[in-house]
């Protein structure tokens, strides 16, 4: 899992190369903390970028196709995609505007996404997606029936060509700016879950399950 990885020309990080992470285990850790990706694909020369949920199983990511119906037209042969996950960790306030930055962790996977057509793999992919986004929910939900399975598109993207980029820590000011009279540091940012809100039609006596009450990603 933690073998080094040699980037291709397409996934080699060009800008700020010192932030590049080509370690598969590090990339998977980022993928496992996130659950929203932005998928890019091309239709008639025009790029489209659509947010959607995802899950990971081994060296594949599974993408819920429902949010990207535009890209599902020619899926039999597969479609070239860019799959990007970004976790934002903070605003980095340097003395100079130029050195302002953000702390973040991101993964980019390039490849060909293919529709999952086999029934058992599709059902398992939906379980993975569900468990990735909200662990514990699958067994307490009404599972997909045949009609719903058919109406759901799931794409499989092998994690072959990828890169990760990470910036953490304090600002990096130029030496001559260190005495500039301003505050410098980091404003940490994170996603938090609020108190769960009952469905207005909830049957009396049903209480919020622990996986909803204690929801958090960055464990």
């Amino acid at each position: 899992m933690s073998e080094a990885y040699t980037p291709t020309q397409r996934t080699r990080v060009v800008r700020e190369p010192q932030r590049a992470v080509y370690d598969r285990a590090a990339a998977y850790k980022i993928l496992d903390e996130g659950f929203i990706c932005h998928v890019g694909f091309v239709v008639d020369g025009q790029p489209f970028v659509i947010p959607t949920g995802y899950g990971r199983a081994g060296d594949n990511v599974y993408i819920h196709g429902s949010a990207a119906s535009r890209m599902l037209r020619n899926l039999d042969s597969g479609i070239a995609v860019c799959f990007t996950v970004t976790l934002l960790d903070g605003l980095v306030l340097a003395r100079s505007i130029f050195n302002h930055s953000m702390n973040y962790r991101s993964v980019v996977v390039l490849g060909t996404a293919k529709a999952v057509t086999e029934r058992e793999e599709k059902l398992e992919a939906l379980r993975l997606l569900s468990e990735h986004i909200l662990p514990g929910r699958w067994v307490e939900s009404r599972h997909p029936n045949e009609k719903e399975l058919k109406a759901t598109t799931v794409l499989r993207l092998p994690i072959v060509e990828f890169s990760a980029k990470v910036r953490q820590g304090p600002p990096m000011d130029d030496e001559e700016d260190l005495s500039f009279p301003t505050w410098a540091g980091v404003v940490p940012l994170r996603m938090v879950a609020g108190e769960p809100v009952n469905d207005p039609g909830l049957e009396p006596g049903r209480t919020v399950p622990p996986y909803a009450k204690q929801y958090r990603r960055n464990l």
Copy 2:
């Protein structure tokens, strides 16, 4: 500002059309709350999706080019991009897996991004970017010098062809699932700022400014 807007075939929302918002003011509200976009562009037929900061001024968004050096090669003539902003508001737990969803607000802008070359517009775009991400910071920072201005790429994308998509509220279960024995509702999600962290090299006596201490987006 709040005129109705007729989508093009490319920006008409195909999937879950009832979530579509074609109102310019509503889209701008989403753009003004967010500050990270995912920009898609195409190189040799391969889509790339890169996260980066942005700002808005009237009917243009300005994108910081530094995070997307791959797309900056042929910018003189402009480059076709998809600019997507996603705000995640919650996990929607229905009784059935099929009706699980997320609450979110997203905007997609299609168009041609061009590099800002004129010095004054570039400086103003950098100010807008800075003020969009962290209002109040610009006047307390050391401003870009000529060398830094030259080293910074800013792209301008006119907001002409766009769509917004919004899902809010409780789960929408099928009638026959309402008695399925599970909890249903929404787990709200939001981004919060933590306590600012001083730069280790901070000069004694400098205190955290209010715009960093009370940072929040959803006002």
